[in-house]
Amino acid sequence: MKPAGWLALGAAALLALPLALSEFWIFIAIEVLAFALYAVSFNVLLGYGGMLSFGHAAFFGVGGYAAAILMKKAGLPPGVAFALLPLVAMAAAAVAAAVVGYFSVRRAGIYFAMLTFAFQMLLYAVALKATGLTGGDDGMTGLKPPGLLAAPLAYYYFALALVAPALYVLHRLVSSPFGYALRALRANPRRLQYSGVDVRAHQLATFVVTGAFAGLAGGIFALSSGNVFPGWLNWTASATPIVMAVLGGVHTFLGPALGAAVYVVLEVLISGRTEYWPLAMGSIILVLVLLMPEGLTGLAKRRTA
């Protein structure tokens, strides 16, 4: 089947499937949507831009906290607050990414990665300590969409209405001249510089855009799971987008979305049966890294080749 065929099938499934799911699984589906956006946006940074960030979870977390603070502390009527949520979550994450990115892209490779890590931990510490604003260790709970949107099915379609266009925008981005420059940047930044491109500025822009979309994902997820915790910003959380992207395959645009779906479903199924989800996840990562470096989409390509 041609890609267009798969896409149509996927779109149909996304629209129709939730009607057949139980409430529990609709919540999972919403989680999949949010994490798919998270993973795909992260891969624009990693797979297309060649920048491995150890601190991308920071922006997912900032988006989540921004959404929570907006709903609970801004003193706005729930309907108004909710209407502003996508914008606020993205803006907050974009600002954070701009600050972090400004300092981080001046360095390459390992120092870039450690800088993003340090900034994520800084934000984690702030989330833990600014108890007045963020609830500290306890996090923020009791978040829910207002009125009719509190029904899981309704919130699912709301999330889809945000995630699908967001993914489309990201896809246009990677197919655009900016996207070409990004891929060239990953291949040979010095060559691109000598062709007249301000490499650092492009890296910063990519960092901010992908951070903003991660923030949107965090905001969407915060309202569906109902809470935000400092743990979203702890250093162990920075593995999540990397795992999802590599699991799905970093060489395709939607590969990470598939990785996200598999990751979320596995987490739900395994955590439901045992407390040793970290052991399971760690083992899956080991298998992935040692035996399946191309990820699931890579495996599929090999089968059809």
Partner: protein, 253 residues
């Protein structure tokens, strides 16, 4: 008296204890095809790196057609019409040849901030033109990393030309090639430079290549300019002969 397209005054660069460039003076006239020769460690690559802003000079000035461009970063110089190739061929290895040139054309057109239109169809005919110009017409769809060494050098030339430069800086453009290929390659560059009205500064080890195309030669030694002039003038200078003592100086008949 036309003003030189490139003027370097007293350019100096030190790495720890090593004075890689000890005050280099050079003036390149429009349309010149100048070779820079000198033994390894003479400072040729450092000169290119420092004059294009990849490294910051410790002292000295660089003028591009009267404008002071000292220390300006490479992407600024590229936009002002300076193109460069590297000693170790530098292309976008996992993009196709066509995409390599397309990206360079997009960069030249200042289009890399455009985030919505589809890039695949942009600048295609011009990209193919440039590939034909350097003799890579048939390799448009091949990934640059899979091209032969010589073809990668051609691709890098196409990338450089995509920027519609006025000044071409070629760092050992024939490195790694067999003798015959070297002459062909430098003659191609010479032809194109003449046709497009480009001034060219290139570093080189092979004297046959130098004497085949260079209008003037600058000899560098230990970070300074040792001698400069026409090939005949330079060849006759005793200091130059001394520096190259032991090296086989191939002289064109």
């Amino acid at each position: 008296m036309s003003s030189p397209i490139l003027r370097i005054q007293g350019l100096a660069k030190r790495f720890g204890g090593l004075q890689a460039l000890g005050g280099v003076d050079l003036a390149l006239e429009r349309g010149e095809f100048r070779a820079i020769i000198g033994p390894n460690g003479a400072g040729k690559s450092t000169l290119f790196n420092t004059m294009t802003g990849l490294l910051q000079p410790d002292a000295g000035r660089v003028f591009l057609e009267q404008q002071d461009v000292t220390g300006k970063p490479p992407h600024v110089l590229a936009r002002m019409g300076v193109a460069r190739t590297f000693q170790i061929t530098s292309v976008f290895h996992d993009l196709t040849s066509l995409e390599n040139v397309q990206v360079s054309l997009l960069a030249h057109a200042r289009g890399t901030w455009s985030a919505w239109p589809r890039a695949r169809t942009q600048h295609v005919s011009r990209a193919r033109e440039l590939l034909e110009l350097v003799g890579l017409g048939g390799s448009a769809e091949r990934k640059a990393g899979t091209l032969s060494h010589g073809d990668q050098k051609r691709l890098e030339l196409a990338i450089a030309l995509a920027g519609e430069p006025r000044l071409l800086l070629l760092d050992e453009p024939t490195a790694g090639m067999a003798a015959q290929e070297r002459l062909e390659s430098i003659r191609l560059v010479h032809r194109l430079a003449g046709r497009l009205g480009l001034s060219c500064l290139f570093t080189e080890h092979d004297m046959a290549v130098v004497f085949a195309v260079a209008t003037r030669i600058t000899v560098m030694h230990q970070g300074k300019v040792l001698a400069e002039g026409t090939p005949a003038e330079v060849r006759a200078r005793p200091e130059v002969q001394q520096v190259y003592l032991g090296e086989q100086v191939k002289v064109a008949a």
